[in-house]
C-alpha cells in the first residue's frame, strides 16, 4: 500500500467509525429513495458550515485506502477551498489525490459537474448549502416535508411561471430544480443549469451532503433526472458567444475573467482539468 500515515491522534478520515456508519446508513436510504432528503445527525467539522461540511462528511464516510480523490470548487482544482479540502483528506487519510477526472474514484465538488463524462464506479459528491428546492417559496420545513410527501409541487411551476411573465425566460440559472426518477423534486445544489443534463442517466453514483441543514440525498447510477420546465418554454442550457481563451473550447462552461478596470474581459474554462487536457492534446497534435 502506498498510502502515507494518517495525522497522529485522529481517526482515518477524521470521523469516528460509529459516525461513519451512521452516515452510510443514511446514504443507503438516500440511494433507495432517489431524490429524497434523508435527515442525518450531521457532525461539527473543522471547517465552517457552508464551506462543504456536508460533502466532507459524505466523503469521509465512503473513502477507503484504495480510493483516489479529486476535489473541485467552481470546476477548478486550484481554487482555495478545493485546495484546503484536498489537503485535509490527504492529511487525514493518506489516500492518493488527483486532478484528472477519469483517474478519480471519488470527486467532491462544489457548484460544478466535470466536463469529461463520468464512468461506472465513480462517485460524485456534491456540497449542498440549501437542500430544499421548495425553500424559496415556502420557508417552513414542516410545510415543505408535507409538500414532498403529498407530491404537492404546483408551487415549483409558479416560480417558473413568474419568471417567464416577468422576464420572458425562466430566470433560474443555477440550482435549477429537477425531478428525480419521476417522483421527488430535488435541488441539484448550486451547479449552473448548464450541468443539469449531465445528471440524467449518469453511470456514476451521485451523493449530496448538506452539513448545516443535516440532510443527505442521492441519485443512483442510470436514474432519470428531468429539469422542470414548460412545454412551450423548454429547459435550455447557457451558451456563450465566446470560446475559452486558453484551449478554445466552445462547448464547456466558461468563467468570465476581468482584464482591466475598464471592465474588459475574457472567458476561460471553469473546469481546469478539461482545459489542461485539451491543451495537452493540441500540443501533442502540433
Amino acid at each position: 500500500m502506498t498510502s502515507s500515515p494518517v495525522r497522529a491522534g485522529y481517526n482515518f478520515a477524521y470521523l469516528d467509525e460509529q459516525t461513519k456508519r451512521m452516515i452510510r446508513r443514511a446514504l443507503l436510504k438516500a440511494v433507495a429513495i432517489p431524490g429524497y432528503q434523508v435527515p442525518f445527525g450531521g457532525r461539527e467539522m473543522p471547517m465552517p458550515y457552508g464551506w462543504g461540511t456536508g460533502g466532507m462528511q459524505v466523503t469521509a464516510a465512503v473513502i477507503g485506502h484504495d480510493d483516489c480523490l479529486k476535489v473541485i470548487d467552481q470546476g477548478a482544482d486550484d481554487t482555495t477551498n478545493a485546495v484546503s479540502i484536498r489537503s485535509f483528506f490527504r492529511d487525514l487519510t493518506g489516500v492518493d489525490t488527483t486532478e484528472e477526472t477519469e483517474a478519480a474514484t471519488l470527486i467532491q465538488t462544489r457548484h460544478r459537474i466535470p466536463e469529461k463524462p463520468l464512468h461506472e464506479g465513480q462517485i460524485l459528491i456534491y456540497q449542498v448549502p440549501i437542500p430544499e428546492p421548495l425553500r424559496f417559496i415556502e420557508p417552513s420545513e414542516v410545510e415543505t416535508r408535507k409538500m414532498h410527501a403529498l407530491e404537492d409541487y404546483g408551487v415549483m411551476h409558479i416560480k417558473l411561471y413568474e419568471d417567464i411573465a416577468q422576464f420572458g425566460h425562466i430566470a433560474t440559472a443555477y440550482a435549477y430544480p429537477v425531478q428525480v426518477n419521476g417522483r421527488y423534486v430535488m435541488d441539484p445544489s448550486p451547479i449552473p443549469k448548464f450541468d443539469n443534463p449531465k445528471m440524467d442517466n449518469s453511470p456514476a453514483l451521485q451523493l449530496f451532503g448538506a452539513g448545516r441543514e443535516k440532510r443527505i440525498y442521492a441519485i443512483p447510477p442510470y436514474t432519470e433526472v428531468r429539469s422542470l420546465d414548460f412545454e412551450d418554454h423548454p429547459f435550455e442550457v447557457q451558451r456563450w458567444e465566446a470560446s475559452c481563451a486558453i484551449c478554445g473550447s466552445e462547448s464547456s462552461f466558461l468563467d468570465e475573467v476581468v482584464m482591466d478596470d475598464q471592465g474588459n474581459h475574457e472567458f476561460i474554462c471553469s473546469d481546469t482539468d478539461y482545459c489542461r487536457t485539451r491543451l495537452a492534446q493540441q500540443e501533442e497534435r502540433a
Binding site: K146, A149, L150, E151, D152, Y153, G154, V155, H157, I158, Y161, E162, I164, A165, Q166, D229, F230, E231, D232, H233
Partner: protein, 258 residues
C-alpha cells in the same frame, strides 16, 4: 336527475368546549344546490365549514362526498393526500380574508394558474390564456395579470380568489363570509357576480354568513345555527319569511328588510 346527494353529513360534532364548536349537524347537499349556514359569530358555523371541507377532523360523525367518478368517499377515511387532491380539483374554498386564500407574493396570473399547474398543466401559453379568460369572467382588468394581489383593492382580491378556485371547474365550493369586510357597493357587485357564476357553472355551494341579505340572495336552503347547534332548517324564503324558532325570529327582526 338530482337523486344522488353530493355531500352527506351525518351527526357531525366538533367541540372545543361546551357550546363552542358544532354538535350533531346532519344534512344532504345536492349538485347545483346552494346551502346557507347562518348565525351570529361564535355560533359554530365556521367550525362546521372547516369540518366539511376536510380541514378540521370532527370528534364524531361522518361526511361522505360523491366524486366525479360517482364513488361515495368517506372524507376522513381518506389519506391527507387524497383530501388535498379533492381540495384542489373538485372543490373550492373561498376565505373571508383574501390573503388567506391567495399567494400574496406572486402575480394574479400565477394565482389563477396554480391549481392548473398543481394538476399537471405544463403549457405556459395555455396557462396564460386561461388566466386571462378567468380574469375577465370575474370582471378583473386583464392588464393586471402580472401585478401582485397586494396592489389590488379588497374587492379585486376577492374576485381573484374566486377565479383561482373556479379555474379547475370545481363541483363544490365552500365560502366563508365572502363579502365580509367589503364596502357595501363592492359587496353588491360581488354578490351579483357570485350569483351569476353559481348559475352558469351549476356549482354546489356551502356558504357561511352572518348577513341574512347575502343568504337570501344566494342560498336556496338555510341552516340556522346557535351555540353550536342547528335550531332551524328549511327553504330560504320559508325560514326568513316565517321563522319558527325564537332565535331565528330574533335574527330576522334585527335585520332591516329593504
Amino acid at each position: 336527475m338530482m337523486t344522488e346527494p353530493l355531500l352527506q353529513v351525518k351527526e357531525i360534532t366538533k367541540l372545543y368546549a361546551a357550546n363552542k364548536g358544532c354538535a350533531n349537524v346532519s344534512f344532504d347537499l345536492y349538485p347545483g344546490e346552494v346551502l346557507g349556514i347562518v348565525g351570529e359569530s361564535g355560533s359554530g358555523k365556521s367550525t362546521l365549514l372547516s369540518c366539511l371541507s376536510a380541514r378540521l377532523a370532527p370528534d364524531s360523525g361522518t361526511i361522505q362526498y360523491r366524486n366525479r367518478a360517482g364513488e361515495m368517499l368517506d372524507l376522513y377515511g381518506l389519506s391527507e393526500s387524497r383530501q388535498r387532491q379533492l381540495q384542489r380539483t373538485e372543490w373550492g374554498i373561498v376565505h373571508q380574508h383574501a390573503r388567506d386564500g391567495l399567494r400574496m407574493g406572486v402575480s394574479g396570473g400565477a394565482n389563477i394558474g396554480e391549481r392548473l399547474m398543481a394538476t399537471g398543466e405544463r403549457h405556459y401559453g395555455n396557462l396564460r390564456a386561461t388566466a386571462e379568460q378567468w380574469m375577465s369572467d370575474v370582471e378583473l382588468d386583464t392588464d393586471r395579470i402580472d401585478d401582485k394581489p397586494t396592489t389590488y383593492s379588497g374587492g379585486m382580491q376577492q374576485r381573484l380568489q374566486i377565479a383561482r378556485n373556479l379555474v379547475t371547474h370545481p363541483r363544490l365550493v365552500f365560502m366563508d363570509e365572502p363579502t365580509g369586510g367589503l364596502d357595501v357597493s363592492v359587496q353588491a357587485r360581488l354578490l351579483d357576480l357570485l350569483r351569476r357564476l353559481v348559475t352558469e357553472l351549476n356549482l354546489a355551494v356551502v356558504i357561511v354568513t352572518h348577513d341574512l341579505a347575502v343568504a337570501r340572495l344566494l342560498a336556496q336552503r338555510l341552516i340556522v345555527m346557535r351555540r353550536g347547534e342547528v335550531v332551524e332548517t328549511g327553504l330560504t324564503d320559508q325560514v326568513l319569511d316565517d321563522p319558527q324558532h325564537a332565535y331565528t325570529q330574533l335574527l330576522v327582526s334585527s335585520v332591516l328588510t329593504p
